[in-house]
Amino acid sequence: MSTHTEAGHHGPAKGISRWILTTNHKDIGTMYLVFSLIMLFIGGSMAFVIRAELFQPGLQLVMPEFFNQMTTMHGLIMVFGAVMPAFVGLANWQVPLMIGAPDMALPRLNNLSFWILPFAFSMLLATLLMPGGAPDFGWTFYAPLSTTYAPPSVTFFIFAIHMMGISSILGAINIIVTIFNMRAPGMKMMDLPLFVWTWLITAFLLIAVMPVLAAVVTMMLMDVHFGTSFFNAAGGGDPVLFQHVFWFFAHPEVYIMVLPAFGIVSQIVPTFARKPLFGYHSMVYATASIAILSFIVWAHHMFTVGMPLVGELFFMYSTMLIAVPTGVKVFNWVSTMFRGSMTFETPMLFAIAFIVLFTIGGLSGLMLAIAPADFQYHDTYFVVAHFHYVLVPGAVFGIIAGVYYWLPKWCGKMYDEKLGQWHFWLSFIGVNLTFFPMHFVGLAGMPRRIPDYALQFADFNMLTSLGAFLFGTTQLLFVYILIKTVRKGKPAPQLPWDGAKGLEWTVPTPAPYHTFATPPVFGDK
């Protein structure tokens, strides 16, 4: 395979201007990943406050008002600040490398997409210091809690969301254009690595639904400041309308947060099973089906709000349909491992944990999809358990797996495998200790988003809190591993994983600042 040429190019600029003015996809990818890690710790510290308060029944540490602000900000920061930017960072690093492109299609726009984020999150975090406090209406910001009864800081929240939306749309346009237009000569759509495929579909979802989020927060702004009545029945509006428009955005959004993780796992499992991915085509079609179905299932979040019966049935069946393509994916991952020559390095451990634990989250989702059963589960800790299983050992484990997998190529050094294993096992125990008991307290009726609870839930809540502290602290080990690798890791070979396939492994280690200035010819495998 052809190597890169560096005619007419030079290395990175010196100093801070390298990062602020850069048009290099690797620099921008790094900034996204570091930003996301910082947000993970800010959002995580809010989870610490929540779990410390819930360690024992009764009000211990914080006032209920502040507790509400913590749950709200924790959700917003993790969704928009930690998970989404981490995936965009991985896409920035990997998509051009995996398709043999010199950079992203629109490099300056790429820089803009990133630099909007620090501004947006400064605005969001500043609300914590405002009179009346930060947003306290939950990350789903249902009207009228977020309109009539909102704290004054809601205005800043709205504009912060607008900025995040602009950033996501621009980033997604860039990724889609890169994938459609910048593939190495000879690389067809059905030759794309699955990480690229899942990101293509994710980018489509982002462009389709982020404008809907913009529309819904704009209507909120109008209701709060300009006297409209979109979400106020006194003027002929409907608070339930808010939920419809919000979930039309937010259901595809939850797939935005997990499809790229599917892609990462689909890259890692074949590498460490030393077998090609089982059912490549069905993986692509399953991903696309999940994306299309995500547009017609939104109201399963609203079964108890009072919808017509026809609506309940429609959304129940359409939701259950999603289990089919998801099942295809799980089947394919397991079949890829079947009779493979498996080894269990850190990325593979996280990937396998992803498959097992994401499936648990998927199955509890199926339980929640059944409308009559959902009447019992709605707004209990069972729901919290469900979406944390798909987001933490789902999305976050996927991201961590991807980072361990590609880190040697990025920085040219190998992480400490022993510490990586520690990181995995502590995270695995911590995550299950945190979220598994939530199923039980939820089924027993403990409501979510309340700072206090009845005595019979005390033991499980203490376990959950201990698990959360363990999981959170373990992530400091992750930071230590990353720093240690970059500072004094052992040099990594050209191909750190002997089963790894794909264009990204053909470039030298570490990947030079500019790669594929001349496109490689794809196909001579």
Partner: protein, 295 residues
């Protein structure tokens, strides 16, 4: 041209960070201003932020586009990069489609579900017990609680200004097409003429729209505060009007560039992108005229 570069990867640029900062000052300024007005403050700081944000935004757009225009005129762009711009613009328009889709969906939901339920009809007609005297009709002249949301005297007759505006906007799409045809023939005079007419039609549309808004507020009591009819009416027509304004600005810049001798019969993506945007805004109007004014 000696050798087409493989793919133009621009050097470091200060425009993105300026763009991010301008966005922060514009939107942050709006937030500070609205927040202050809500707290009965003067909002001076918000105004200063907003105005400086908008000025940086305008400067940034001029500078960034000037940089891109310079690069394209130096022939740094390969056909592949031209394709990136085309794909990028198409997906951007798709995101705009989805933005309007959300508002049309809102109108649909309110008309078909929420308002009839409040009037006692259908599956959730129980909602009528909130305001038993409420009469669910569309156009909704009187909201369930008329004290909070004052009633509308009369709605706008679709067959006067709105119909005229429809004709104006539809013909502007045709004249823009003529202009494009002329550019492809390298007939620069006709290009300018038809483009100028398009811009005039667009500006007339906007003027009539402003006149209609003034009439709605002053004579018909049709305002943002008059319940969901007013809310959806101003939201949809307002965002559409904002897009016509942006489209007109784009076309004015394009006309200016035609006078400067930019574009060739074969390569004129700036022109085409502006035209795509204009046609998109036109299509939105057709839906808008039908669902907001007519039905």
């Amino acid at each position: 041209m000696a050798q087409q570069p493989a793919y133009y990867v621009p050097p470091q640029s200060h425009w993105p960070i300026i763009a991010a900062a301008s966005l922060f000052f514009t939107l942050g300024g709006m937030a500070v201003l609205l927040h202050a007005l809500q707290q009965e403050g003067s909002g001076l700081m918000g105004r200063v932020m907003l105005i400086s944000g908008l000025m940086i935004l305008a400067g940034m757009l001029t500078g960034w586009f000037a940089a891109v225009i310079n690069e394209t005129r130096q022939d740094l762009y390969s056909p592949q990069l031209d394709r990136s711009f085309r794909y990028g613009m198409s997906w951007f328009i798709f995101s705009e489609v989805m933005f309007f889709f959300a508002f049309f969906g809102t109108l649909f939901y309110l008309r078909v579900f929420a308002v009839p339920w409040l009037g006692g009809e259908g599956d959730k007609g129980l909602a009528n017990m909130l305001w038993p005297q409420f009469n669910a009709v569309w156009p909704l002249l009187e909201a369930p609680n008329p004290e909070q949301f004052p009633p509308i005297k009369e709605i706008i007759d679709p067959w006067h200004i709105p119909f005229l505006n429809t004709i104006l906007l539809l013909s502007s799409s045709v004249t823009l097409w003529f202009s494009h045809k002329a550019l492809k023939r390298n007939d620069r005079d006709r290009t300018k003429l038809w483009l100028g007419i398009t811009i005039l039609l667009g500006l007339t549309f906007l003027a009539l729209q402003i006149y209609e808004y003034a009439k709605a507020y002053n004579e018909l009591d049709l305002t943002l505060r008059s319940g969901v009819y007013g809310a959806t009416f101003f939201m949809l027509t307002g965002f559409h009007g904002a897009h016509v304004t942006i489209g007109s600005l784009i076309l004015i810049v394009i006309l200016f560039r035609v006078y400067l001798g930019h574009f060739s019969a074969e390569k004129h993506f700036g022109f085409e992108a502006g035209a795509w945007y204009w046609h998109f805004v036109d299509v939105v109007w057709i839906f808008l005229f039908t669902t907001v004014y007519l039905l």
